[in-house]
């Protein structure tokens, strides 16, 4: 019992779990863009950094409350998402991916060259506002919100674009408009996640938001199962905890991590939970039970 309490109150483990929650929010944002709408984004980390710097600078210079800064970070990221999305979402598939990748690198270089962000030396002195409770409240709100959105008219329009853009267009959906809205929503969550990250680490460096981070978040979403919220959660949990569990192999850690990525894709190309819809599964089980009950009553 004491061992369990020790593990639960160990500050290191708490930090690991908090970081997992922060990246889960970013992964859920990418889930909207790639999983639901079916658009490639290889520059998600750029939106994290925009949100992170925006909120951190507001906290340092304007001393506004954290909740406000966090929302501002999210909105700033969404604004840039729209600005990037408006011209580039007309591109398809890989071209969109490459444009977002390029945007990510440009944002990183701009942050290195800006004075207010502290340049390559990084931005320090951010007060610590994030804690595990706040992070998981935001996570819960995000998941709840995304479930509501996915089952709305808007969410179905996004899914229709993913399945077949031309068919969706002929059903009266404006693909560009919906893609931009979806992109804005996804980048908003990235900005929120970045704000939480900034006030957790208390230090920001543009090097933390390179394309390696973008691909890491993409990994979370794809390995968990593209298009499924439980998949994104599972993928983030497995992959952000994997480096901790692989600590015993020390320097071979990244070697095994890389090999695991290849093997997972070969054996589960649709991700761990790909193609499994829990809501539908639950309904099926319920219906089956109901029909069994009905049969029983009939026989009586």
């Amino acid at each position: 019992m004491e061992a369990v309490v020790n593990v639960l109150t160990n500050p290191y483990y708490i930090q690991v779990v908090t970081m997992m929650g922060i990246f889960l929010i970013a992964a859920l944002g990418l889930h909207v863009i790639t999983g639901v709408t079916g658009q490639f984004s290889f520059g998600h980390a750029a939106f994290l950094s925009i949100g992170a710097y925006c909120s951190a600078l507001m906290t340092i210079h304007l001393h506004t409350p954290f909740i406000l800064n966090m929302l501002a970070g999210g909105l700033m990221a969404a604004l840039w998402g729209v600005l990037l999305g408006f011209p580039s979402l007309r591109l398809t598939g890989d071209y969109l991916g490459i444009t977002t990748l390029g945007f990510g690198e440009i944002v990183r270089v701009v942050f290195i060259n800006m004075k207010i962000t502290g340049g390559a030396g990084g931005l320090g002195g951010i007060p610590r506002e994030t804690n595990i409770v706040i992070v998981y409240i935001v996570v819960a709100l995000t998941i709840w919100g995304l479930y509501r959105i996915q089952n709305s008219r808007f969410g179905r329009a996004l899914a229709a674009i993913r399945e077949d853009e031309i068919a969706a267009e002929s059903m009266g959906i404006n693909p560009l408009l919906y893609k931009i809205k979806g992109f804005a929503l996804g980048t908003f969550f990235a900005g929120i996640s970045g704000s939480l990250f900034a006030h957790m680490m208390q230090y920001l460096n543009p090097a933390d938001f390179g394309f390696a981070r973008s691909f890491e978040i993409l990994n979370y979403v794809v390995l968990g199962g593209l298009g499924s919220i439980p998949g994104a959660i599972l993928g983030t949990a497995v992959l952000s905890l994997a480096p901790e569990f692989l600590r015993f192999v020390q320097e071979y850690r990244m070697l095994i991590y890389g090999a695991l990525m290849v093997l997972m894709m070969i054996f589960r190309p649709h991700g761990l939970l790909g193609g499994i819809d829990f809501a539908r599964l639950y309904k099926k089980i319920k219906n089956k039970r109901k029909s069994v009950e009905n049969k029983n009553t009939e026989s009586i």
Binding site: F40, G97, I98, G102, E105, V109, G258, L260, H270
Partner: protein, 299 residues
């Protein structure tokens, strides 16, 4: 006076840009050919180039061979490596979603970077020794170094050889057919798996040669060198029109010139962003690159 100085600078930077650009072009060819055939962004290609550079380094420092032998050996090492990568990481995923082979490629990339770091014993850069007597030739307003001449000559030779292979040989014809239509090519009796392997092999040979040449040019190599150069070369391929071989050459050289000129004009802190900025600009106005064919929307 100012004008004269500017012109001299201009020609000099143009030569430097073309030199840098031809190394980008060598690597971009690998991306573009693979993409043309199986629509895969081969993110592990940059690592093949890095391993080519390391093979060259080992040969010239440990075995003290001539640089030409080192280039050939690097090409020979990279070919089976790329074929192996394709077999293990991409072939099982050929009929899968678009993102699955991409993640797999990233996995291979992380694996190879870590492997080389472990073998080498740390991520810090290694010095590439001076393998040739570096003399400077003066031609009008421009100064060439021997390394630049070697890079330009080697790159043009390899590209001419590639053009010849693709245009006039049997396997080249099969490659063109497969990139035109994968299914139909396989129905016409082309062994598409062999064509894919061959494409990876050719791309890897060019990347291996590029690795050694870049090592000779910049005198420094490290296990993560493939990442930025790989991304920029991929940019070059998209810039020129992905899937098009002349496009990759044009894109690479264009990018090299733009980058060198940008740095000379004083934007050196923005060096890494020049390639991507150009790419986004070009894609916005010509969504399939400079020499790319328009995409058709089919129902």
């Amino acid at each position: 006076m100012f004008w004269q100085q500017f012109l001299q600078q201009f020609w000099q930077q143009l030569v430097n840009g073309v030199t840098l650009g031809s190394t980008y072009a060598l690597i971009a060819l690998g991306y573009t050919m693979v993409y043309g055939i199986i629509q895969l962004i081969n993110f592990a290609h940059g690592e093949v180039y890095m391993i080519g550079a390391f093979t060259g380094l080992i040969l010239v420092t440990v075995y003290k061979v001539n640089f030409m032998v080192a280039i050939l050996a690097a090409m020979l090492v990279c070919v089976p490596l790329a074929i192996l990568i394709e077999r293990v990481a991409y072939r099982p995923l050929r009929r899968s979603t678009r993102l699955a082979p991409l993640i797999s490629a990233l996995g291979v990339s992380i694996f190879l970077q870590t492997l080389v770091t472990l073998i080498k014993g740390g991520p810090n850069p290694l010095a590439f020794p001076q393998v040739i007597q570096d003399t400077v030739y003066v031609l009008g307003p421009v100064r060439f170094s021997t390394v630049q001449v070697i890079i330009l000559v080697m790159a043009s030779l390899l590209m001419v050889f590639l053009q010849f292979t693709v245009k006039y040989t049997r396997i080249g014809k099969a490659m063109r057919a497969t990139s035109e239509d994968y299914e139909t090519a396989s129905l016409m009796g082309i062994n598409v798996n062999r064509v894919v392997s061959f494409t990876f092999a050719v791309g890897a040979a060019l990347a291996g040669a590029g690795g050694v040449l870049v090592g000779m040019y910049f005198n420094s190599i490290h296990p993560f060198m493939g990442v930025t150069v790989g991304l920029k070369s991929f940019c070059a391929a998209v810039l020129g029109g992905i899937g098009s071989i002349p496009g990759a050459m044009l894109g690479g050289i264009f990018l090299g010139i733009a980058e060198v000129m940008g740095v000379a004009a004083g934007f050196d802190t923005y060096k890494e962003a020049i390639a991507f900025g150009l790419l986004i600009l070009v894609l916005l106005f010509k969504p399939t690159g400079l020499l790319g064919l328009p995409i058709q929307r089919k129902v």
